[in-house]
Structures are given as C-alpha cells and as structure tokens.
Amino acid sequence: MAKLKLALYWAAACGGCDVAVLDINEKILDVANLADIVFWPIALDFKYHHVEAMPDKSIDVCLFNGAIRSSEQEHIAKMLRAKSKVLVSFGSCACFGGIPALANLTTRAEIMQRAYIEAPSNDNPNKTLPQTKVSVPEGELTLPELFDDVLTLAQVVPVEYFVPGCPPTVDLILKVVNALATNSLPPVGAIIASEKSLCDECDRKKEKKMISKIYRTHEIIPDAERCLLEQGLLCMGPATRGGCGALCVKVNIPCRGCFGPPPGVKDQGAKLISSIASIYETKDEKDIARMVDEVADPAGTFYRFGMSNSMLKRKRVQGK
C-alpha cells in the first residue's frame, strides 16, 4: 500500500491537539510508516505555498484542529478542504468552538480594546490597534481580519469525521490511526467517540438523589465514590458524549463537557439545564430562584466548549 499523505493544521487553537498526537509516543513511528506528513506547522517546516501547490484531493487525510475566527483560518480551512480527500474536525475547538468560542460571549471590539489598550501590562500610548493593511517605508504589510463570531470547522467547510476532546485522548487518536491503517473508517459523518453519554462510562455510585443546593467546586471536597451531580456539583456528564474514560471525574472534578453533546442532543447547554432542573428537590419558587442563582456562570459553564453550536449564538450588542 502506498503511503498515505497526511496533513495536520491548527486554526484558533492552543497546540494541545498537536501535542496529543505526539502523546501516542512510540506509535508515532507507526504513523510515520503509514503516512508521509506533508504539512504540520508544529513539527515540520512546510509553508502555505507548499499546500497551495498540491493538486486537489492529493492529501489523503487532514486532521484539522482549532476554531475558525479569522479570514486566514477560513482561507486555510477552504484550501485544505479542496486539497484533502478526507477532512477530520479534530478536537473540541474544531468540533464545537472550544474554549476560544467563549469569545462569543463578548465582542471583537471589546477583545481588541482589552488586549491592546486597557491591559495593565501594555505600553501603547498611541492606542494603536492592529490593522488588516498598513504601509511601512519598505512596502505594505497585511494581517487577517478577525471575525466577530467564532465558528466550528463544519460551519465553514464540509467535514467527513469528528474527533472530540480537549484534547482527544490517546485511545481515540489510535482508533483513528488504526482505521486509516486498515482502511476501515466508519461511515462519513461519524463522531469518533462513544455513542452514549459520559454518565454511562462513569462508575460512581448513583442513588438517584435529588439536590437542594448547587455548590461551586471550591466549596466542598466531593466524595470520590458518589455521583458528583448528586452531591450538588455541576457535572456536565448527562449532557456530554462519553469516550474520554471519564478522566476528569476520576480525579474528583466535575465534567465540563469537552466531548460535546451526546447522540440525539442538538444543544448541549439546554440539555444540561434540563438535566439539572430535573433533579431539583424543591418545588418552592423562592428555593428554585436561590438554586438558579447558585449557578455562578450559566452561559460560560453550560457552553464551556460549545458556544459555536449554542442556540444562544452570541452576545448581542443592543440595537443590533
């Protein structure tokens, strides 16, 4: 079998997904036997012009991580889509928007203002902001345009597969590598994780208790054997796809939903709100109001990784 041509790219990302691929350790040699990596900025020195020169569909598989929030990221996403037979939305940012999509709870103008003008460590007396085009004595410099909205990869180009996780676990990555090696990829559109919610994989004791108070994670030390939701902590388990091995819950912290919604759920945050509301013990309106207030940051917690797919869409500026 001829070696596959493999590309990896990062848009609005942190590098964690690229490092996760390297976390397969010595099995990276299996990848090297299986594929020629033709583009991977974290590890190899190929440039955009190398990708531009590739014929369409000459890349067998592209693992694309990071959300889309600039004109350059959109451009490269479209370029890699054209050059690739199979495009994989890799990691929570590409799949759901990820942490960068929390920017949908603010605006581009506020971000620029904070980062370039207000931040206490700045030395910017002329209040200079980055521009998409600027003239310098030698010629012209350009920068991409930052979008107001953070988008998922699938909101910009068609995608064949989704691998969720922040980052995807080594097990999942090896599943993908093995599927490529044995030419046994699942049907197009598949999300390569579990078909059940996290609760299914979590082996804490569930006693179907109702709760009368919501705790913030620093307010209690949870019992390591019992369901975290039943102890009053906000755990995204019921509204999150499994497949991660319940890593966070195993170290006694509640799930924050990085694997996205479980099968059949369109809006992860709405699903979680309904799951939590269904275990509120009280029917007294005052108590319910108190418990609602005990949720410190609803949008940022229920949509921690999924603002791009949220029905909330984004923060709206009044009048627009």
Binding site: W10, A12, A13, C14, G15, G16, C17, D18, V19, A20, P41, I42, A43, L44, D45, F46, K47, Y48, H49, R69, S70, E72, Q73, G98, I99, P100, L102, A103, L105, T106, R108, E110, I111, M112, Q113, R114, A115, A119, P130, V136, P137, E138, G139, L141, L143, P144, L146, C166, P167, R216, T217, H218, I253, R256, A296, D297, G300, T301, R304
Partner: protein, 63 residues
C-alpha cells in the same frame, strides 16, 4: 522592493509570519514579525468564576 515571506513560522506554538524586504543590492532593508491571531482570553475570562480559570487558561497553550 523584493519581499520574502516566511508563512507560517513553524516548530513552535502559535501562528506567525515574517516579511523580509530586500533592497536593490539584495541586502535586508527591514524585517517584520507579525502575529495573525488573537483569541481574546484577556477579555473572555472576565465573568468566569475564578475557580474555573485553572481549567480555562491552560488552553492558552497546550504545549
């Protein structure tokens, strides 16, 4: 002026490009490093509960 672009810069975390302007003699007249990305952690971390930040800010850099 002739311009040599290094885009993207590689083998580090993050996005960057370098534009090198050459004069008629072929020497470097000037070089510019540009960072074509901004995610806005400085702003979108505002309003998040402080005990959640240790789970948010490691996503600034996954390396």
């Amino acid at each position: 002026m002739k311009k040599v672009s290094i885009d993207p810069i590689t083998r580090l975390e993050g996005h960057g490009k370098i534009e090198i302007f050459l004069n008629d003699a072929g020497d470097v007249a000037n070089a510019y490093l540009q960072i074509p990305e901004l995610r806005g952690f400085e702003k979108f971390c505002e309003g998040r509960p402080v005990e959640e930040l240790p789970r948010i800010v490691p996503r600034i850099c996954g390396v």
